[in-house]
Symmetry: C2
Subunit: 551 residues, 2 copies
């Protein structure tokens, strides 16, 4: 057995499915580029049958990230990542997945069907024979379209091992090349999961010519340990997400599995293709775009994970580095020199630093970025990488603007009559101005916006954090809203149910009320585009812009 | 071997040691009460030798939570928890720990010394013989004071097992009753850690009469799995923190270990004394007091951990509950009925609900709380449990107020001249008013406060989140500051180094700028008290108030 563990990233599929993590097509494309740069072997780019938007997002990733010589591995001889699309075990789903991924140099179709008694009885309402027959039929169909087919017996962790061996054996005969073993509900312990994988490898005919994969969930806090147990039992693909985002308590964290294999190489004797120095950047990007925060005590990517490094007065007091440090912060891309630019930095310095951070802006967009940089530098003494990333995200990764913020004026305080006046430019180019009072300045501003926009919604989440240290920091606001009309639902592949779709938005400004208004408008614009009467949620204006911006 | 796993909670010691998690004495007392109600067996209440404040905080917890019939187990026949104090292996430390815990019905002294080559050489500068001798001497001294003595060989995970067996055997002879095995740097895998514990149990003379304990860190995301592996190998005490807070990537999460043992009881065949329905309340309290957020995808206590429950339209579409649910939200205290009170709710309804939430206010304090409740109810249609908890925390769990906010007026917006006017009442009772402009309204308000208070500091962290859903939500602001004078340092027991102490503050208001000002003042007041010339950071005014409030 080889000692290379393939990293299969499902941030864009299982991760994006978690509440509020909805990303725009452009954000997904940027995440895919970042994953390619990180060196993941397979990008599960989405679930194309969910909606025309989802199909289109996967197709764009296949073309722009999965094509030979595409993004990511710029200038290197590296092959592009495999681009994978998920499909339920139905011809329609599989056909759509193929339509989306076929443009990639190395496409993959991933189909699944549940094999546990509880899922077969209550969700599928199928018996064992029917499940087996469907698996054979659908894997064969997928294989007739695509050389690379992955099959997952859903809820494998709670399935009868004998039945699993049978189903997997038939899937292999039907053409599956990767067999993925999901602990769908995060139920197993490392011993159980390792034994399950070992049993599958030992008892499934033909499995020696396939890759065995593991896919764990963190409901009991055991996803990383279970994944490592599966790998030690012989799996050579790990399905993970950046920051461990995903349904419920989330999926296995990419960074934890990769750094455990790296840090304890003598124990595992296994390697991955991940460039670990890109981990922090990927973590920040995914957190910004999904609005899902990373807790300070998160392993590897939490703000405190390397606090011993930053917090201690190092004048000889910390006697030996390794006393309390099992990995170097630099190994995961935590850089110590965070102060980079100031008021007197020029356009060239900005361009160089943005390039180093992975942003290749066109000259026109660089001009725009430089203009915003100078405005910020007037207010703030030092501009850090985090400031630059927030600025670029705010300027270039916003949804198509139906309404734009043209002006905002706020008065508030302990006198108890918070008032906001908002001026928006509408889709017709005309400006609209409204004033409103509220329970606070944000509430007042949102009510004023509502009186112009008229898109009934519920605010589910509102959070602000300072991008950098210091009292003059740039504030980044994340909001998540849910349409009250609810006619636009998203589809959950697991439960086969529809849920009300939620929309996230973010905005950055040194004035947190301005940032709050921007974030709310960004979410509202996403909602407006998604609930347009024709149902086609393209983002043409934005995508054109992005193409210019990133070519 | 019995099947009862003791839960040793170190939220107040190892958890509080993480950057920014500093709590006031009153907050610590409230956390200790909550831990007692949760049913933990041992509360590690602090490190008494760190400072007179720390000693006093542990002493108060020993008296008020650890005494027979004290707090927590109100009305029940349950014994009070063991109250434990940490001490380095020195007579001074052990003496101070004893002074602090001796008032408890069941006191414990916990002392430690490193046994790994890297720690002995670079940190202790001692050889094996010296370490062994010191352990014998200090455990004997601790045992001469206290019947219940715990010893930890620090960095056991990287220690030579033979040497460990020797040291632990001598510690037992010297009187240790609990032997704790720490994976101090979060370095081991579950297989390694389980084998280490099994080896210790097999090879240490006299260990059959002691409790073996495990203490893991989450640097590689394996703390929970390692803890469970240690328990399966025979450990019967698990050292954990609420939400897994702690140094770097944190300690093992109490909630993950307890719920793994509970959910998979047939696998483990072990029980704990934890009342799991108190888990969410403990999680929220610790998050509020420390300002350390819980990520939405955190196992058990994250906002999305049970999202399948809340997010799905349940009209028959989710066919069977257990399809995607391995535990019930109610089992950990996630309640579905979150709307409790409104504008027309009376004082009695508020009192009943506060009691249900665990707050027993005096009549005078209930009046105050009711006044704030009515003000909030005028602004907000429905008041939830989270609103009530934020309100109580804001009203009653604030540090001694050196300066209080008497008035705030703010103007801001896109015109770019954010201005704040602040009126504070100082320690002398006089009011001071200052106006300032800033890069945003928060910066302006903080600059205005600075021009009155004069306590040079750096803002390390600033975050806001909406306590509940809805546009009129109460906003809760958390800040963390560091003194620029830096003459008040905190002591790190592990690295034996001093670090600049940081101070957190929180504030809640429907106006987030007002909440921001309150939070900053709370942190500044903590800083002012801690850096008083006499160095004695008592909080007499507050503690008196709290006594009235909670008796």
């Amino acid at each position: 057995m080889d000692n290379y563990v393939r990293i299969f990233d499902t941030t864009l599929r299982d991760g994006e499915q978690s509440p509020g993590a909805t990303m725009t097509s452009a954000e997904k494309l940027e995440v895919a580029r970042t994953l390619a740069k990180l060196g993941v072997d397979i990008i599960e780019a989405g679930f194309p049958a969910a909606s025309p938007d989802d199909l289109e997002a996967v197709r764009r990733i296949a073309i722009e990230v999965g094509a030979p010589g595409a993004a990511g591995a710029q200038g290197s001889a590296q092959r592009p990542p495999i681009i994978c699309g998920l499909a339920r075990a139905s011809k329609t789903d599989i056909h759509k997945a193929w339509e989306a991924v076929k443009h990639a140099a190395r496409p993959r179709i991933h189909t699944f069907l549940a094999t546990s008694e509880i899922h077969m009885r209550h969700k599928l309402k199928m018996d064992r024979e029917q499940v087996l027959e469907r698996v054979i039929e659908m894997v064969s169909y997928a294989r007739s379209l695509c050389e690379d087919v992955e099959f997952s017996p859903e809820d494998a962790g709670r399935s009868d091992p004998q039945f699993l061996h049978l189903v997997l054996g038939e899937a292999i005969k039907a053409g599956a090349t990767t067999l993925n073993i999901p602990d769908t509900v995060g139920y197993t312990t490392p011993d159980e999961f390792g034994a399950l994988v070992a049993g599958i490898i030992q008892n499934t005919p033909g499995i020696e010519n396939c890759i065995v994969s593991v896919h764990c969930h963190d409901d009991l806090g055991l996803a990383t340990a279970n994944t490592l147990a599966g790998i030690q039992a012989g799996a050579r693909q790990a399905e993970v997400t950046v920051n461990g985002i995903g349904e419920r308590a989330g999926n296995t964290s990419l960074e934890e599995v990769v750094m455990a294999l790296n840090t304890r190489r003598p124990v595992f004797n296994l390697i991955t293709g991940i460039d670990t120095t890109q981990i922090m950047r990927a973590s920040r990007l995914v957190s910004n775009y999904t609005g899902i925060v990373v807790q300070p005590n998160k392993a590897i990517v939490g703000a405190n994970a390397f606090a011993h490094e930053a917090g201690i007065h190092q004048d000889g007091m910390l006697k030996h580095q390794q006393t309390y440090e099992i990995m170097r912060p630099e190994a995961v891309g935590v850089t110590q020199t965070r102060l980079v630019l100031g008021k007197h930095s020029g356009r060239h310095a900005l361009k160089v630093r943005l390039n180093e951070l992975g942003y290749a802006l066109s000259e026109a967009d660089l001009d725009k970025a430089f203009e915003r940089f100078k405005l910020l530098a007037d207010k703030k003494k030092t501009i850090t990488d985090a400031d630059l990333e927030a600025l670029v995200a705010d300027e270039f990764y916003q949804p198509r603007e139906v309404f734009t913020l043209d002006g905002l004026q706020v008065a508030c305080g302990t006198m108890g009559m918070p008032t906001a006046t908002v001026r928006l430019r509408g889709p017709d180019g005309a400006t609209h101005t409204q004033a409103s009072i509220g329970t606070g300045p944000v509430d007042a501003a949102y009510k004023a916006i509502d009186s112009i926009v008229h898109a009934p919604n519920t605010l589910l989440e509102f959070s602000v954090h300072a991008v950098t240290e210091g009292i003059d920091a740039l504030g980044e606001v994340t909001v998540r809203i849910e349409s009250k009309n609810g006619h636009r639902l998203s589809f959950d592949t697991q439960t086969e149910t529809e849920r009300t779709r939620t929309f996230g938005g973010h905005g950055a400004d040194t004035d947190i009320i301005v940032a709050s208004a921007k974030a709310y408008l960004a979410a509202l614009n996403k909602l407006l585009v998604a609930t347009r009467p024709n149902g086609q949620a393209e983002e043409p204006a934005f995508i054109t812009h992005s193409q210019t911006a990133r070519s």
